[in-house]
Amino acid sequence: MNDHEDLFTTPTTPTTPTSAADAAALARLHTRLEQAAHDEGLLDVAYRTVDSPVGPLLLAATPRGLVRVAYEVEGHDRVLDALASRLSPRVLRAPRQLDPVARELEEYFAGRRRSFDLPLDLSLSTGFRLLVQRQLPSIGYAQTRSYRQVAELVGNPKAVRAVGTACATNPLPVVLPCHRVLRSDGTPGGYVGGAAAKATLLSLEAAA
């Protein structure tokens, strides 16, 4: 028998529904935490999401720079779990830290930006993949290359399949333009954000 229940929520349901006033207080406190964490150098991974013509994009940054752009089909929660595991569990939603990234992406999707000028953290990639991904920005806006051409570009013309893998595991799609790499026959080939997203980006660039 428990006659306390007329006074209090039972401890078996600790997730008491949050009122609007509490939600507002928590939102304000969260913003304060983001700033304090940044000031104290504890913001190992800051993230936010932005809407775009290719769906919601997750943006994540370390103090060194933008470390991850993720499509919704990749599963944003899964991506954040992976960042916590690979980089640091100090992962916090901190939209302001990503304002410059959000601004450049917005300009890009509006057709007003042709290349990105952002500090990048490529620590999620290594070896040949890193080599390929670094080369991607040399494919100019609205241009395309075949997987074979990219393989030649990085000095390893036989590594066509490995170039495909490097594109498929690009941690910074859109910003590092793997969508500009197509099959030799001109068909789009796969894309981390799905075929429709690749087509959207290519037609956006062609039209601008």
Binding site: T15, L42, P89, L92
Partner: protein, 160 residues
């Protein structure tokens, strides 16, 4: 390599409960300060937290320490009830009005903490005993005494 969840999930899951605990221990503005200090300190220590730890009990332990720090910094008694009565608390637990939470803040220290940790944060008495020191039974008794006190002193708190 850890399998620890992103800290943001900890804030989302426990931020509300920790805020309610802080508000039982402290007045409104001070509660906000204690919450901020708690989560900043938790963020700092988070990578070293054992994966098997009870995260909410850990947070409440930090919150209690921060609440004591805030009170010490202000060099005053923990329950300035007269002051509190004049301020809006912003507390909004459905079905409970501010009077009840002022009554909770008016409880003796140990009872207030036991009530807050058990009924607000939802911690089991074994965890509360570790936070307060003493036995599980003593923690349970403190919460029961607190509830009995509230029943006596808070109008409408009695059984219907």
């Amino acid at each position: 390599m850890s399998n620890k969840q992103p800290f943001e999930k900890v804030v989302q899951a426990h931020g509300g409960a920790v805020l309610r605990v802080c508000r039982v221990l402290l007045a409104s503005q001070d509660a906000d300060d204690a919450w901020s200090e708690t989560f900043l300190s938790a963020l700092r220590a988070y990578p070293g937290l054992p994966e098997t730890a009870n995260v909410e009990a850990w947070l409440v332990t930090i919150a209690r320490r921060k609440a004591i720090d805030v009170l010490r910094a202000r060099q005053r008694e923990p329950v300035p009830v007269e002051q509190l009565a004049e301020r809006p608390t912003g507390l909004g637990i459905p079905g409970a009005d501010d009077g009840l939470w002022q009554a909770v803040r008016g409880l003796p220290d140990k009872q207030r903490q036991a009530v807050a940790y058990h009924y607000v944060a939802g911690l089991p008495y074994a965890e509360i005993a570790q936070i307060l020191g003493g036995t599980t039974d003593a923690a349970r008794r403190a919460a029961a005494d607190g509830i009995a006190n509230l029943r006596k002193n808070y109008p409408g708190g009695g059984p219907s």
